[in-house]
Amino acid sequence: MIPGGGGAAAPARPVPRDALRRQAPYLFGLAPAAILLAAFFVGPALWAAYASLTNTALVGIDAARPRFVGLANYERLLGDPDFANVIRNSVVFVVGSAVVGQFVLGLSLALLIDHAERRGYRLATLAYAAVLLAWVNPTVIAGFLWVAMFDFYNGSLNTGLALAGAGPVDWLGQFPMLSVVIANTWRGAAFTMLIFLGALKTIPSDIYEAARVDGANAWRRFWDHTLPSLRPIGALALLSITMSTFGTFILIQTLTNGGPGTQTEVIALYAFHEAFRSYAIGYGSAIAVVMLLINFAFAIVYLRWSRARA
């Protein structure tokens, strides 16, 4: 299945030798990429699958001689109340920051900016660039920026609230999940916005003209024409941000490190903590495998849908 496996994926029917020779340069071209992908993507995934069936540890007696333990790690996972909590946190985080935050904000931004372009409002460019900047900004800087924004005593948010006469809010202490959701929405809204801006440009304007002649008001035109034509690409965007949000690690690690307690511990942090803090590589690998399987399920739906569009 990997690019290097191109030879293995060759037709079952015997191929004439010179035809294969004609393909050889192209296969050679694929080789360097295939080697890197095999080493750093396929290999580690397979190793995680293997390690998840053992009691491999970073230190101690199990580090020297890992034993094969079958599905014991997965059984432990099913009964682990911490894992249930982690899954709950991940779902809340994904729904909050990807589905609601990035998607709704991104769609609104796209509609607003597209409308502004039609009106010739120049200031829209500033808003557009600001959203993009938050997106290309390295994630670990984003974490730091929001630590400062949320700071209880001196943060900009509480300073702003104080100016408005409202009391300070203990953002990271009392509303940690809301805080990481806000930060991740801020960071990732650009992607959905860009996707929808691209899609909006492909809607021919004569559809609107026809609707206007029919006497449809702006709201009806939006509801009957704009939204339906955005639906297919919207579904893909939604799946795409769901996958990338599900793997979030650095942003939460820098903002809350999963805390307070385990209130913002999502699946990637849990796998990391089990592996490196508790030194349970086998168990951490089982968590990673679950993560990969969930992601692959989303990815296959995604590829099906995008192929249906092609």
């Binding site: 990429a33 808003a127 600001a130 691209g198 796998a271 690998s285």
Partner: protein, 297 residues
Amino acid sequence: MTAVGPQAAVQVDIPPPIRPRERGTPLEWALMHLAFVAIAAFFLAPFVWLFAAAFDAEATAYIRVPGRLTLDNFTYIFRELAFAKALANSAIVAGATTLLVVLTVTLAGYGLSRLELRRKGWITFAVLLLQTMPLSATMVPIYGLARLLGLRNSYLGLILIHAAIELPFLVWLMKGFFDSVPRQLEEAAWLDGRSKLRALFEIVLPVARPGIAVAAGLSFISAWAEVLMVIILVDKQDMKTVPLAFYETFRTAGGYVEVQYGLVAAMGVLYLLPVMAVFFATRRLMVRGLVSGTKGL
């Protein structure tokens, strides 16, 4: 994905269809501009703070005009925190990664585009599937692998892993670019007696230049910005790159208790500026390229 795929990226220079421009009411004008200001404020506020704090002698966590403008934060990170070394390391890693990625994805994208196999769709499918794999899921095995191969605390390890990260998306992107280059071009060159490799470099590559620019820009930004793999692979002082220096100054030197905002902000500014420069210099191309794939952790 087709609407925003690499095919769309090729058409960057085609102007958008001219649309009838309508005048809005003054109320609409006011509301829209209020919205722009609110959006810009929300998205820019943290950056305003970052740049103000970096030049502030007594930086705090809230946005303020620096009480006393100073470069002390910058001198401190260079004198005491060896930030010059981190910048040099990052430049080496990001530069070499960019070269490696451009070379690799050009060959692979071209190969994948021109390869004739019945199951070729599967390869493309597999590449895309790999692209959706979260690094945070495989970081533990990658750590183990790097330790096994002696790739920890080495430029080579950082370059290889950062190149690999960007490959799935860029291979696929480049394949799209090459798909749009007609085969007749290179076939004519073969008839002139050029080798396949020479035909690729002299005839095909110039046409696919926008794709190569995206690949170069994106791999530079990604290798410069990425922190997770650096945290895992580097624990030696003189191998630190900018992301790790930033992360450590933020988390350990200050920690939760008392972050030294001015210092971290100064590092942040120098960490962010190259990313901004590359991104905004190639903005149009990058946006077209990037929307066809997901980015970041």
